[in-house]
Assembly symmetry: C2
Homo-oligomer: 359 residues x 2
């Protein structure tokens, strides 16, 4: 039995961050962001990443006690130098700042530099939902993805999240990597000893491969679109947009200079910018029309798509964000079915830090 | 010899709009937007669309003399009821309003309803380049694209454009449909009597097809990603984002209710909103960092990608927007090589309106 309740997992994760030098408040926040991903079924971005974050903390590449430097240059725009913070903290802080700006001006935008991986984008993007603010969040990441026509890893899987608050939780939440498949999917195929579909990766010569070891063997991931004649250049364009907004605009590193997530790889020297970067912001629904009217029509929109003709009669058309919502309802009731390896890694952390294991 | 100079084509197009009841100023603007597309090699969105627009004007579905109603609800956000205007005019007007807002607040956003097709998104999105404003433009469109798992046409090819001004024209301009391929590409294959690649379209049963007649035969276009295991749901998510911002947020029609571009198909009754919709906006580069620093780093970004290792040594990696820039340089010097059918349709219009043909 590996199911663990949301509360127990959050408490445990909080303790682990506290043992790593984070304040109680920041530890609680980090725990909530990671467990939010687990609860919503995005297991790759939940506590499974904890050992990776801890190794970066140990290596001095994540600062547990950062001092934020804000540089608000216009009424609605500015940057945050996150002082090497974990992105789980800095992206939420930036989003909260844009919410304050939005209170006054109807929209707000912060580009973050000198940060680290921010976990699941939708956590940050939904922070203004109680005020009926639409959220926007993107981040660059360690290079794994080729540009269209290229065979060199130049971009991260660079996600885009757009979150639109509906009535009574009938939201629209798009949170997507701009690569055809996430690296986590290759790792799962690798563990299961199976091939990957064509369209996910190329080998080191730039040829399409179905080997789950593509990344290990110096290959790379393909952008969304996968092939030249099915819009590969569009996925490349989207990933580039994310990189330029998160890196070039913010003052963070970008492209091939983005620092690696794994602690055993050193960041490159002369990175043209500091750490990883994010770009977050929000718009007030009421800044366009009365939010009641917008949300009424969003329900009409949702219903039209849900009731549209599916290819397979047993598989109705889904609304972005709804599969995660379903996981959330299920896991908040029945607990989170953690992977055995994740449980093992958490137990090891508990041993090292002398924390009572809940397993 | 079908090459025509940019100026001659613009003058001709202006005359045609004037003969259709548009003011001189609006006619000039419409001509400039259409010819901008032709000059940049986006032939599908240039004067080739003129007959389609004219039929909509004749059918009373485009209003040549609209009265705009602005509803600016917050400092940086609002809507425009375009009174049935052609999108070429209303999207640019909305963008110019966001530029004014941006002058004061560092960013600005307008959602447009009661409009029509706006031509090429990048024209509008680049209007703030002289002020170093990044532009953003999207529009919904007549339904041709299925949602992930669906076989019903629910979305337009719904483009997203993001335009970042560089130093001396070293810009980044991403302007992409959110479908795997544009309908224009099917039409070209149809004319040439060849099959289309798999991944572009499905037939009326929801099965993948390589028939160039897919749309004619009641099939539909696939979202970017094309297949379930290569991220089809992401293209669907992006197209949905565009539809909700352009339609639901603005008060325009959305999803299956978007009015058709072809005049022989009637718009549906009870559309939950008025006409087509757009969503445009901009951010001031200087709102984040000194724009000199950002543009210097954008050049570093560009150079890194241009010089990255290509799969084919003769095909270097390209920057989004650069292929169109190359067309622009070439065609501004040597004229625009119009397709014979397009020339014929322009000559017909000239005959009908008693305009001297330049061909």
């Amino acid at each position: 039995m590996n199911n663990i309740s949301k509360n127990d997992l959050t408490d445990l994760t909080q303790q682990i961050f506290e043992h790593s030098g984070f304040s109680e408040k920041d530890s609680r926040h980090c725990a909530e962001v990671l467990v939010f991903a687990d609860v919503r079924g995005i297991d790759s971005h939940g506590v499974a990443r904890l050992p990776g974050y801890l190794r970066l903390i140990d290596a001095g590449r994540i600062n547990p006690n950062p001092i934020f430097k804000w540089n608000i240059r216009k009424s609605t725009t500015g940057t945050l130098d996150a002082d090497g913070a974990i992105g789980l903290i800095s992206a939420s802080a930036a989003m909260k700042k844009t919410i304050e700006i939005c209170d006054q001006f109807g929209s707000g935008w912060i580009a973050v530099n000198n940060s680290n991986h921010f976990g699941v984008a939708s956590y940050h993007a939904t922070l203004g939902f109680s005020k009926n603010y639409m959220g926007f969040a993107m981040t660059n990441a360690s290079p794994l993805v080729v540009p269209a026509g290229g065979k060199e890893r130049m971009l991260g899987t660079n996600p885009i999240c757009i979150a639109i608050p509906g009535k009574n939780g009938k939201d629209f939440i798009l949170d997507m990597a701009t690569s055809a498949a996430a690296n986590g999917k290759l790792e799962i195929a690798q563990r299961n000893g199976i091939d990957i579909p064509s369209g996910w990766a190329i080998d080191s010569d730039g040829k399409e491969t179905i080997s789950a070891n593509a990344i290990k063997d110096n290959g790379a991931l393909l952008p969304l679109g996968s092939q030249e004649n099915t819009g590969l250049h569009k996925g490349y364009g989207l990933g580039s947009w994310v990189d330029i907004f998160s890196g070039v605009i913010s003052g963070a590193a970008f492209g091939p200079w983005c620092p690696p997530f794994v602690a055993f790889l050193e960041p490159k020297p002369n990175t043209n910018g500091k750490g990883l970067g994010h770009f977050v912001g929000c718009w007030d629904l009421d800044g366009f029309q009365n939010s009641d009217i917008i949300q009424k029509n969003l329900n009409v929109w949702r219903k039209a798509f849900e009731e549209s003709n599916p290819i397979n009669p047993n598989k109705p058309v889904l609304i972005p964000g709804d599969p995660e919502k379903k996981f959330q309802q299920e896991r908040e009731s029945n607990g989170i079915p953690l992977n055995l390896n994740v449980v093992k890694s958490l137990e090891e952390i508990c041993n090292t830090h002398n924390i009572k294991s809940p397993f």
